[in-house]
Symmetry: C2
Subunit: 194 residues, 2 copies
């Protein structure tokens, strides 16, 4: 209560600003994921969020500010909880990624970030989101691979999910994901790791 | 000569329209690859091409028309000329792809196409460009893989080049490309194909 009112009503104003930010960020994310980054304009986001364009321009002068805020709203990337079975864990992690492309439209977010990456602010956000997205793959596979092979394996496994989505709007099937993991881990042949 | 003038000056007018189209397409492609699809507006492209906005609006009413024309200007995707040595051919094909990302900014084109793919016209262009880009990989690898494994291998190898570029603005090194191909083809171990 004391915190909500405070002296001179400052915290109450902070709370209002925070709510505006949350509303606008959510609306910007919805436009970004349903209509693409090109559609993220002050007019469109203001309309959807129920605020005036003037309010949006005052807080977020550039379209990039709206897109950046939308992406930050995503929070941490989803990951599979590890079981210790490498093959099962890698397959499950790729399925989580595939499902996030479907549900969170990560393909549009990835494409939007890539489009805007010539702006340093967006390049940093992109690197942070993608590093967060890939770190568990690096960790899981670093016992088995290192150096260029580790980089190759992580980018290949990311690609088996990301490429069909970005290139054809197609979700990788479980069969294709499993085939990819078996080729990379060389399992099921009794020959063990390289 | 006869063709250039023709009756009622029609072919001459066609030639003028064709030149306008070529100039505008080249300018649109330059904006797309240097500034991203968001920057492809009638005003920006008209300025760079040296035509009026009115001319551009008359021929290409939507921004998507400009972007689509820019991508069609790319023509066929570059490919490596096959030698028959599968490992060397796959490595070289990936290097051609990597270099095209650097020189033609295929990463921006790919991201731009993905961003706009909710529009059917762009989805078709995207599928055509990407099918053209991947068909040689499918052909090269179809002696060795089939079904989900073939799909997995092509998307993984595409990913080893496309993912670092789209996710971090980084070009895949020769070391990483070679490591990827060796993991997929299982060469250098004397164990042959699966």
């Amino acid at each position: 209560m004391a915190a909500a009112e405070g002296r001179s009503g400052e915290p109450a104003e902070d709370a209002r600003v925070a709510r505006t930010r949350a509303d606008v960020a959510r609306a910007a994310l919805e436009v970004l994921t349903t209509e693409g980054s090109d559609a993220v304009t002050h007019a469109r986001v203001a309309e959807l969020a129920g605020y005036s364009k003037t309010t949006l321009y005052a807080h977020w002068p550039g379209r990039l500010d709206l897109i950046a805020m939308a992406i930050e709203t995503l929070g941490d990337m989803p990951h599979h909880e590890l079981t210790g079975d490498l093959r099962a864990d890698v397959i499950a992690e790729l399925q989580v990624f595939r499902n996030a492309i479907d549900e969170l439209r990560l393909d549009r977010i990835l494409a939007g970030m890539a489009q805007w990456a010539s702006v340093e602010q967006m390049a940093q956000i992109r690197n942070k989101v993608n590093t967060d997205g890939q770190h568990q793959m690096y960790e899981m596979l670093s016992d088995r691979f290192s150096g260029p092979a580790l980089e190759a394996v992580v980018q290949m496994l990311t690609g088996v999910v990301a490429c069909p989505a970005l290139m054809y709007g197609r979700l990788a099937s479980d069969d294709v994901i499993t085939a990819a993991v078996d080729i990379v881990l060389d399992d099921g042949t009794g020959r063990g790791p390289q």
